[in-house]
């Protein structure tokens, strides 16, 4: 056969005469995106994403169906080509109705693949589930217990009845694995010889360490406290997360992977930051936010006033302060709940939560509020500390509370509390715990740039600080303290960036483009209601007297039933989808620019073993053409014109379906998840 030579993007490419530009490119290792071409069928040229420019033609050419001309110079990356390709993808996506990934996974700051592990739980494969979880999160038993689970806020099941109990399912599967004979233990890749120093052994630092170690790097975590775990260990009460029983076991797994751990070591005290940096190829700052914010009222410095996280840490360390019988906790978040319930367990008789808004506005988890109430905590809504008053001994004696009411909504959308003039209350107290926020103490990190709020500034895509080879993640950066899974997400994403950097070609983190559905467009009436599994807990009267874990964990039957409630929103074909693979290679697509009518999302089973989803079909017509040209059956055809064109049985005649011989070639060659082979 005659060989021809063409030039593509400056590279000489040879191939057989008569071949298309696309095929010669492929033969020479150049990939041009293409969705509707396939060796089984004739040239077609529908999707328009494969266009290239030729120096000898004024028109854009469809590389999938244009014969390459000997000696011609082609370009796949001119501005004109890029623009045409981008618009083609945006147009396709504007009429592609489907969720690439489930909303729970997209909402999770660590992008935990909830749908995938929940499916494994439903099938009884807890080890497989744990393996999937650990692709994004090395501390699932711990996080499954304490996570405020943003995933559940976006769970579509809530439109049927209630969200899935995603976090507790994670807790269930991870526990099953943690206490099994053959725990899931991934192996680190072979040594790269690169050394990484991580400052801080909290969730962010542990996670970064885990994923960097998996890549074969030598990783050491340095932590100022006697134990690893950071805020998971020192900021969360034992009754929510057993430290030795659960957390330490998970940390041990990370250590077994080969991560070195050094405790009681503080940068700036035991070594200067500059000297520390010199010892590593990369440094990750993950020091967290360990300072409590003060209340900001008169008397806040009195003896008997404690910071929320300081209080929790001291209890965990075994040096709980004497808080007395009457305790007020200021704040409405999860730390406030941890503090008040801890105070109950320390024997306080009157524990008050002072919150300036109402229960509806409380940021704490609903279940935490309920459980606190069960344990006897008294909520003083619409009150705010005006002054903490000392007794004769100079210690806290009373708190003067300003009574509040809700006014206009503020920027956050919550109604702003405003004082009711002249209306006050007095509480008799022995101590006050301030749980209204926490701050970063960057002492020791000499030369690292801080933002206006005194928090370490790190690039959101590269996690780099202003210093060369110094990265920063977690509570210590940018927006400050957040939830543990957020820190885990950052540690995991930063690990990828740092690994790519250490390998010589840094790839910043970018949330990949995905197709998403709006729940408003979904008919949820097709699912039957089935109630959410309740987490069994120890009785309030019993548990309030000790620090043993409140939750008892799901019964295996309940876990499986709960897992079966999953609607499986994410596309079955995400990993094999050609459309999304190519779309993600593009600069960020904005199909919403072209938002308009879409083909409706529904599934139908017309062929014996194939389920078809109209919403995901991009009308590449490969199924129609393969059935006709390759299989020789012609079972499928196009019906309608223009935008309304849809794929149906040929001539819209159901009788032709009888000719289908279930070869499945249509589904196997579908470039999206529109056709699914049913097992």
């Amino acid at each position: 056969m005659n060989q021809i030579t063409i030039t593509i993007d400056g590279k000489k490419c040879t191939g057989p005469a008569g071949a298309t530009i696309l095929n010669i490119a492929k033969l020479n290792g150049i990939e041009i995106p293409s969705l509707c071409a396939n060796g089984l069928v004739k040239n077609y040229g529908a999707c328009g994403v494969c266009v290239v420019e030729s120096e000898s033609s004024p028109k854009l050419l469809r590389s999938c169906s244009t014969e390459a001309a000997d000696g011609t110079v082609y370009h796949t990356d001119t501005e004109r080509v890029k623009k045409a390709r981008r618009v083609a993808f945006e147009l396709i996506m504007s009429d592609h109705e489907g969720d690439c990934l489930p909303p729970c996974m997209l909402k999770c700051p660590a992008n935990s693949n909830c749908q995938a592990y929940i499916k494994q739980i439903a099938l009884g494969n807890n080890k497989e589930a744990t393996k999937i979880i650990k692709e994004t999160n090395p501390l699932p038993a711990s996080i499954g217990r304490v996570c405020p689970h943003p995933c559940e806020k976006d769970c579509r099941r809530q439109h049927v009845d209630e969200s899935l109990s995603i976090a507790f399912l994670k807790y269930f599967a991870a526990d099953k694995d943690l206490f099994s004979e053959d725990r899931y233990k991934p192996e680190a890749a072979s040594d790269t010889g690169k050394r990484i120093g991580i400052i801080g052994g909290g969730p962010a630092g542990l996670t970064a360490a885990y994923f960097l170690r998996l890549q074969g790097h030598e990783v050491t975590i340095f932590d100022m406290m006697p134990h690893m775990g950071g805020m998971l260990r020192y900021g969360i009460p034992e009754y929510r997360l057993p430290k030795e029983g659960i957390l330490q076991k998970e940390i041990d797994t990370i250590e077994e992977l080969g991560v070195k751990m050094v405790n009681n070591y503080k940068i700036g005290r035991d070594i200067s930051f500059d000297d520390f940096r010199k010892k590593f190829d990369a440094v990750v700052i993950a020091i967290g936010a360990w300072t409590s914010s003060s209340i900001g009222c008169k008397g806040e410095d009195l003896p008997g006033v404690y910071g929320g996280i300081d209080f929790l840490r001291r209890v965990i360390e075994g040096s709980a302060p004497a808080i007395g019988k009457n305790v007020a906790i200021v704040g409405g978040g999860n730390t406030a709940m941890d503090a008040c319930r801890t105070a109950v367990r320390l024997g306080a008789e009157n524990v008050y939560v002072i919150y300036r808004r109402t229960e509806a506005e409380m940021p704490a988890e609903k279940v935490e509020i309920e459980e606190a109430r069960e344990e006897g905590v008294q909520f003083k809504f619409l009150t705010n500390p005006a002054e903490i008053i000392a007794g004769a001994d100079g210690k806290v004696k009373q708190m003067k509370l300003q009574v509040m009411e809700l006014g206009e909504p503020d920027e956050s959308g919550r109604r702003k509390p405003v004082p009711v003039e002249g209306k006050f209350e007095i509480l008799e107290l022995d101590s006050v715990i301030s749980a209204i926020g926490q701050h970063v103490d960057p002492a020791g990190m000499n030369g690292v740039e801080l933002n206006k709020r005194g928090i370490i500034a790190a690039d959101e895509a590269s996690f780099r600080t202003n210093l060369e080879n110094v990265f920063a993640v977690g509570d210590a950066t940018n927006r400050g303290a957040s939830i543990a899974v957020e820190a885990i997400g950052e540690g995991q994403k930063a690990a990828k960036v740092i690994d790519s950097f250490l390998r010589g070609k840094e790839v910043p983190y970018r949330m990949p483009f995905v197709s998403k559905r709006d729940p408003k467009d979904i008919d949820f009436s097709q699912w039957e209601s089935y109630p959410r599994a309740k987490m069994p807990t120890r009785a309030a009267a019993v548990r309030k007297g000790d620090f043993l874990e409140v939750n008892k964990g799901f019964d295996p039957d309940d876990a499986v039933k709960e897992a079966f409630r999953c609607l499986e929103c994410g596309c079955h074909d995400y990993k094999n989808c050609e459309l999304i693979r190519f779309a993600q290679q593009e600069p960020v697509l904005q199909p919403e620019r072209f938002a308009g009518e879409k083909h409706p999302y529904f599934t139908e089973q017309k062929l014996v073993c194939i389920e078809r989803n109209q919403g995901k079909c991009i009308s590449c017509n490969l199924c129609v053409r393969i059935c006709d040209e390759d299989v020789g059956k012609g079972v499928l055809g196009l019906v309608g014109r223009g935008f309304t064109t849809v794929i149906k049985p040929e001539f819209n005649n159901k009788k032709v379906l009888e000719f289908c011989k279930s070869c499945k070639k249509c589904a196997e060659n579908c470039p999206t998840g529109a056709l699914k082979v049913l097992d």
Binding site: G45, G48, R62, V87, N621, L638, R641, G642, F643
Partner: protein, 586 residues
Amino acid sequence: MKRIVVGEGSCGIAAGAAKVFSALEPLVSGDQNIRLSITGCIGMCYLEPIVDLYEDDTLVQRLVLVGENDAPAIAQAVKSGDFSGVEHLFIKEEDKEFLSKQTRIALRNCGIVDPTDIHDYERRGGYEGLKKVLTSMTPEEVIEVIKTSGLAGRGGAGFPTWFKWNAARSAQSKSGSKYLICNADEGDPGAFMDRAVIESDPHNLIEGMMIGAYAIGATEAVVYVRAEYPLAIKRLESAIQEARANGMLGKNICGSDFSCDMRIKAGAGAFVCGEETALIASLEGERGMPRLKPPFPAQAGYNSEPSNINNVETFANVPWILANGGEKFAAMGTENSKGTKVFAVTGKVRKGGLVEVPMGVTLRDVIFGIAGGIRDGKQCKAVQLGGPSGGCIPYELFDTIIDYKALTATGAIMGSGGLVVMDESTCMVGIAKFFLDFTTKESCGKCVPCRIGTKRLYEILTRIVEGNGKEGDVELLEELCKAVKDSSLCGLGQTAPNPILTTIRYFRNEYDAHIREKKCPAHECAALLHYHIDEEKCKGCTLCARKCPAKAIDGIAKKPHVIRQDSCIKCGQCYAACRFGAVTVE
């Protein structure tokens, strides 16, 4: 011989010509001196039905806007030779100019010959060109004459006809078959040139096609006519039988060695089948969807054999060119556009109809000189040339000449001949939306830029005319238009954005008014209109309230009325009904 000729094109029939014919028939059937016959489309739609009175071949009087009740007077006038009884039907001098200002080549027999009689065609020199070709010329010589004439494809693209013929002639056929195809899938809204030619002068088309068939060596000729043209199909079918019976089609045409037969394929009315590769797919029994070129039809067309496709008007010029010589054709027109062009003039003009003019005359000559300018004393605003693939040319550019290059430079195209004239009451955003509605529905659905792109363009235009346009929408339209033009598979998508791009280019202010001020300057977009009653002018006659279908007008007799804006459906009935000018619209 006295002859009464009734114009029976589809348009004449629609206006009542067949009834006029039926009324005349019994009145003159007994008279040996009078012959009653039909002809095709005379071209003056606005004066139909038309009855021509001939003395032998001399037109004695043309009667217009004839009704069936006029039949006795017409019969009496023809019999007596005293036309005073039908004076009121005489065509006005001014209207005679509609035809006298034209130069008719493709339409030369339209409205004159009887389309159902091959001998009538032959009496006017019909089939002379074909006989000359078959008896004295080689195919190469024929192609040379066409090359000399400068004839270019009249379907719109303006590609040199000789080049296509030559390519098809040179191409090797695997089976020995070559095909000549006539594209009569005339689909532009407002275009009816091809229909008129087939209905009025079918033998001219057959002769032109046979000359082409001889030139390329075709073994079969096919006319692809849209099924919505039943009269054209009927007349062409009978003309084909006549031609075959008279040796002008089939085996050994005119006694020569050349054989070629012809058949009609009725298309199912998909606009895209006017695109040649889609037309071929349709001929082959496939869904009418375009294919990528190359291969071009001349290399691998119908049945994968060499095929040549020309438009009706192109073929209609061919017999004249062969009879009169290529030079004579080339003498008309401009440097790069030779001969004449037929336009179907419609819209807000006083005189709508078929106009054939030499290339090089101005749009003003056609619209004002021949078509009489704008109706109802309104201001002319623009003309849409080339239908949904074309563009709007504003009144300010009416001195542009009819010439492929000059028209393309305005952003419009020559097109196949649709010429829609618009006045000040036409919203240009609305016009763009109208055409996009058409192309969106007529897109075959194969390629993404056209299938989804035109849909999105239509959606953006819709939100603009409904008052929901956003700042940046014009730029978004422009970006998407460019992408659709650049990446669509066939001519339909590649030209679909033209109406938007030209209206943005010349009437950007109207887009801005819709988007920013939520106003339609032409007062056409209902969603942006507001009707009010002027308290001072309103007499309280209650007429508007009674007419209002939405019961949106409140008021008691003899007191000023008020329109409830939230109930008003903006139908304009109050505005039309008010006798005191009290209802205003803005």
